[in-house]
Amino acid sequence: MKGMTLIVKKSTQLIAGIIFMYGIYVIVHGHLTPGGGFAGGVIIAGSLILVTLAYGGEFLKLVKEEAGTTIIESMATIMVIMIATAGFFFGTKIFFNNFLPRGVVAQLISAGVIPLYNIFVGTEVAASIFIIFLSLVIFKEESPQ
């Protein structure tokens, strides 16, 4: 898959990093401002799709990207389930227990175990959407025309 023209390449050099940082901001502040894990995850996936579309298939060595991203996605799902199970052992014996201290409302470190959930769910959603897009690009490149 060919890349795009020079104007698009220069624009993505300026903007893609800022969109990535904005996605991380939306994930980490998920318990204070609108957003959360899902919104930040799709924003990060959007910035990665932008870089792939602008620079073309040969730039990224696509098959190795796909293998690494599937590992990241599986790890993130396992971490979500492990945090939920860890709540089983502290405090009262219920699944999905919110066991870390809650703190003051509307501070950055508060709300128990919810910021950890946000980070892992956001990573998993971003990896899933990026894998779906990458397999489409690899299919179009490797199929005989």
Binding site: G36, N98, V105
Partner: protein, 175 residues
């Protein structure tokens, strides 16, 4: 509020009618994207900023995937005359629409007017959520603490969908 939302939904209906009758496939896909963007305006009017952020990015990604499918094909809907099968399916469609609309108009009388709350659990969630979960964003508190099973189910559904797409679009087997 109800008047402005009804006007926007009316424009969405016109866009949807164009999307299913357009002759060019690329125009139909772009009209589907525009219906999704109008939904973002509806979410902002209904005071739901979380949903607006998610819907605007998800609709852009859906548009990219649909255009990638449509672009390297013959971009026209091959239109042939209506034969007997076409008439039967059109008649079935109109019959289903009339029956469903009638039953919906009966059952929507039991809902309250738009603006008063129709759900009984709303007060319990609003009063207790900030103190019990400790998060200032009530929607995040509900999604990750009160209804954590739904989030776990959603994570599993995403992994399954990725497995499905990887299996369908695989060209070379392992040696």
């Amino acid at each position: 509020m109800e008047l402005s939302i009804s006007i926007i939904i009316g424009l969405m209906i016109l866009g949807a009618l164009y999307a299913i009758h357009a002759k060019d496939l690329l125009s139909s896909v772009i009209a589907c994207g525009i219906v999704g963007y109008s939904l973002v305006i509806c979410f902002l009017l209904l005071k739901a900023p979380d949903l607006a952020i998610v819907q605007i990015v998800v609709d852009t990604i859906t548009l990219i995937i649909m255009v990638a499918v449509v672009l390297d094909s013959s971009r026209e809907e091959s239109y042939s005359k209506l034969d007997t099968k076409g008439y039967i399916s059109a008649a079935t469609g109109i019959l289903m629409i009339v029956v469903l609309l009638y039953f919906f108009a009966i059952s929507v009388q039991s809902l309250d007017v738009l603006g008063t709350s129709s759900l009984r659990m709303a007060n319990y969630y609003i009063e207790g959520a900030a103190q019990k979960t400790g998060s200032a964003n009530l929607v995040t508190g509900v999604v990750f603490d009160f209804r954590g099973y739904d989030t776990m189910g959603e994570a599993v559904v995403l992994v399954t969908a990725v497995l499905g797409v990887l299996t369908i679009l695989r060209l070379k087997g392992k040696k």
